[in-house]
Amino acid sequence: MAKARVKAPKKAKAGDIVTIKTLITHKMESGRRKNKKTGELIPRHIIDKFTAKFNGTEFFSADWHGAVSANPYMSFSYKAEKSGEFEFIWHDEKGEETVKKSKITVA
């Protein structure tokens, strides 16, 4: 599992649009770089899908390609309506998943 961090508010008023920021360590190896010593292409290994859910329902997602920088940053918005739990999922092409959760109380 890669190392991920999430900045999401813990409290909000109903109707507030909050900003969520995420960052994860990942080389995002594009598959176009060559090994300096052997000259061989370093195989591609990227995170290709990011998903954000609230109480189990997806509200935002992103498809990532080789052009996304290493240690990808992703920020997006969410309209708070009720209390619950966020779930953030990073899925890489090898099938590995990193998951982070965050609770929010909405008054």
């Binding site: 190392k3 961090r5 080389k27 920088s69 940053y73």
Partner: protein, 271 residues
């Protein structure tokens, strides 16, 4: 080697540097007032020579990718070594490291030479936790260095350069001013004579060390000062020394003395 030839060579270098700059000319992009925190008299942190989008990455602890390594370092701080001890066992929490990175490299009475922060961390790992020394540029060493260096953030660089450190400072200073490599250049040609000028599309900095370890956009990860020394030496087609070598530790002492008083910014973000 005749005198005539020496003159020709240095004139050529001036021409080469000038030629490299003619495409862009001198570009004084050093902005005055809002960067006061990053300057001490004529000394300017690398932050001053960095594009504003890159600065924005450093300014926010969440957005700064280097913080991912700091988090890792924080976890390692409490991780027990083979003998059951961790950094935390003796030092308790990170606050014990406040001001530490700002004064390294230090004179080491045991080996009778300078020791820098990465070497000190490794010494502690080996002697106090029974572990094996971490390889230079390895993830755990970078993480611990970033975590320890962060504790000095905002404090002035304050390496001791007198007493036992003096002869090593002199060696580091000699390195800084010595021409080397196929391009026959010294650190000073870029970082003293041309700081603030363009070298092709790059704005030259003063080569300060207060931001290391740094997340370099080029490396797409965090890296040590010695990695940068090696890169710079390779750029002028000089054989690089090993990270942790006496040459680089002495150079580190001298470079830090040039930046004495500048605020520690580790872990910074640079291009």
């Amino acid at each position: 080697m005749t005198k005539m030839t020496i003159l020709k060579r240095s004139k050529l270098l001036a021409a080469a540097l000038g030629g490299m700059m003619i495409g862009f000319g001198t570009a004084n992009t050093v902005v005055a007032d809002d960067l006061a925190a990053f300057k001490v008299g004529d000394k300017h942190s690398g932050y001053v020579y960095t594009a504003k989008e890159t600065r924005a990455l450093q300014d926010d602890d969440f957005e700064n990718p280097a913080m991912l390594w700091v988090e890792e370092g924080e976890a390692l701080w409490s991780k027990a070594g083979p003998n059951g001890k961790s950094c935390a066992s003796c030092h308790e929490d990170a606050a014990a490291m406040k001001g530490v990175a700002a004064v390294y490299p230090k004179y080491d009475a045991k080996n009778k030479k300078m020791i820098n922060i990465e070497q000190m961390i490794n010494r502690e790992i080996v002697e106090k936790t029974g572990g094996k020394a971490l390889k230079w540029e390895s993830k755990p060493l970078l993480a611990l260095t970033a975590f320890v260096s962060l504790q000095s953030r905002g404090m002035p660089v304050a390496v001791k350069t007198d007493g036992e450190a003096a002869p090593f400072l002199a060696k580091g200073k000699a390195f800084f001013y010595k021409r080397r490599g196929q391009l026959d250049m010294a650190c000073k040609h870029c970082h003293e004579d041309n700081a603030g000028n363009m070298i092709r599309a790059d704005l030259l900095s003063q080569g300060q060390a207060n931001g290391f370890p740094t997340y370099r956009l080029k490396w797409q990860k965090i890296g040590s000062l010695h990695r940068r020394f090696r890169g710079c030496n390779k750029n002028i087609r000089a054989k690089p020394f090993k990270a942790g070598s006496d040459e680089y530790v002495n150079l580190e002492l001298y470079v830090k003395s040039r930046g004495a008083g500048l605020n520690m910014e580790a872990p910074s973000v640079r291009r």
